[in-house]
């Protein structure tokens, strides 16, 4: 119980330090965020394809593509983090030992650092949100307060799911030399099954049914589709929110298991 209280007491300080770090490296930070150009490239591609006469792509016209990809860009920017590299670097350089010495679980300290970068991320994503709201695609944005509530919960869920998935991949670095290679594979699957590369509705049916049960969809496509009004019934939205939070629980538990097993090995090295 004292441990929980100590963690809570340290939280404001950890958040402040995290924010200071983000601000100190602001140029790098902005450049790093600008590397998420993929949605913009896809936006350019699909809008011009959709403007040509021909068969329609599922429910997607020009307006839907604009709304979808800007939404994807915003969600990706809000939920992304470099925690895989951070954990890898700390394992490689032995800095992890210092982190382990602190009387707070490393997951909490990692999470604090990355949560405090969210305001800055929001600032970078803001112009895109404004463009989205005031373009013709803005009409698609939901106005139902209940759905907006679900959207807020789904964004938090997407952040947690993404973050702890990455923490788990980073923790694999305690077992293998190159957990960044695992991350590459992960990114490949994520890009397609999360709807980052292409809206899931355009995938063939069998791929869509895989995407519906896999966790990736709940990191990106779910909040985006929710925001741009693809969910008409509140019940459907709530059901998917439930699935998302189920995945959040599973992934956090899995990350803890991998971390614990890995730390035992790490200490066995005698470093």
């Amino acid at each position: 119980m004292t441990r929980v209280r100590a963690t809570l007491r340290a939280t404001p300080t950890m958040l402040r330090v995290g924010l200071a770090e983000t601000v100190a490296y602001r140029v790098e930070f902005v450049i790093w965020m600008l590397t998420t150009t993929l949605p913009l490239i896809m936006l350019g591609l699909w809008t011009s394809v959709a403007s040509e006469p021909g068969k329609q792509f599922a429910q997607f016209g020009e307006r839907e593509f604009v709304a979808y990809y800007i939404g994807a860009l915003i969600v990706r920017n809000l939920t992304g983090s470099w925690v895989v590299w951070q954990i890898n670097e700390e394992i490689r350089r032995g800095m992890l030992s210092f982190r382990l010495l602190r009387p707070i679980h490393p997951f909490v300290t990692y999470a604090a650092t990355h949560i405090s970068s969210v305001p800055m991320r929001g600032l970078v994503a803001l112009p895109f949100a404004v463009i989205l709201l005031f373009s013709t695609a803005g009409d698609l944005i939901i106005t139902d307060p209940a759905l907006i509530g679900v959207l807020a919960a789904s964004l938090l869920g997407a952040w947690l799911l993404t973050f702890f998935m990455l923490v788990m991949i980073g923790s694999l670095g305690l077992f293998v030399d190159k957990s960044t290679a695992v991350f590459d594979v992960y990114m490949g699957i994520f890009a397609v099954l999360s709807g980052y590369l292409i809206p899931l509705a355009l995938l063939p049916d069998w791929a869509q049914s895989i995407a519906r049960v896999a966790p990736f969809r709940y990191m990106l496509a779910f909040p985006v589709e929710l925001a741009i009004g693809f969910y008409h019934a509140r019940g459907d939205a709530l059901r998917d929110l439930g699935v998302q939070w189920l995945w959040v629980t599973i992934v956090i538990a899995a990350a803890l298991v991998v971390w614990r097993a890995g730390i035992r090995r790490y200490e066995a090295f005698g470093s």
Partner: protein, 265 residues
Amino acid sequence: MTALGRYLRLFGVQLRASLTTSMQYRVDFLIEGAMSIWWLGWNLVPLLILYDVRHEVAGWNFPSALLVIAWFTLLRGLMEGAINPSLIGVVEKIRSGEFDYLLLKPADAQFLVSTTRFEPWKVVDMVGGLGLALAAFIMLGKPPAPGDVLVGIVLLLAAAMVLYSLWILIVSASFWVIRLDNLAYLFSAVFDAARWPIQVFRGVWRFLFTVIIPLALMTTYPAMAMLGKLEARTAIAALGGALLFAAVSRLLWRAAIRSYTSASS
């Protein structure tokens, strides 16, 4: 024994050193090879979905769009195998001051930094790219004319030169602004757009990818040349643009070296 001969020999030495290093990591070869093939298939997903619904996009049918992806894969293999590895290292050398030793060596510094590291395993990517090109021509049902192939290859070399020059520009900039390795990632992200024929983009995008970052020149033009669809005028303009890029990057590099004051001072 001219300067050229000396540099050729030096190039051979550097290349051999990289090869020996890579040979120590043979397992990596298998992993990287498997990953390349995986990505090759993965990268085709948007193309397949697009052409499943439409037969033609902006005047490009499936096989000719595949040819653009083939050039893209080839060029990316070249970039990740022969251009990036050396130049990413430079940024770190400038930061740590190790760069001073390089300047002391009796050879051109730009040559030395550009040839320090190669990743021979990236050949797998390049072979994959050639395989895609072959598949594209089989689907088209007619082989390209020899003259067109020649123009295509010349343009691809020009594209490699532009890529290299862009990297030198990034590295030169890092003499003034330390830690620009993120900029390298940014470039790789933008370069991804080169897998699509430039005509597929409209307005701002087309302008950006033709003039500011000449992606059109890198993959679309060589592919059009191979298809015999490129006008001679465009080809010459592309070559001229590539040479201009190379000249500007060389000048900026020299300016950067002149202003370099080492890490400690």
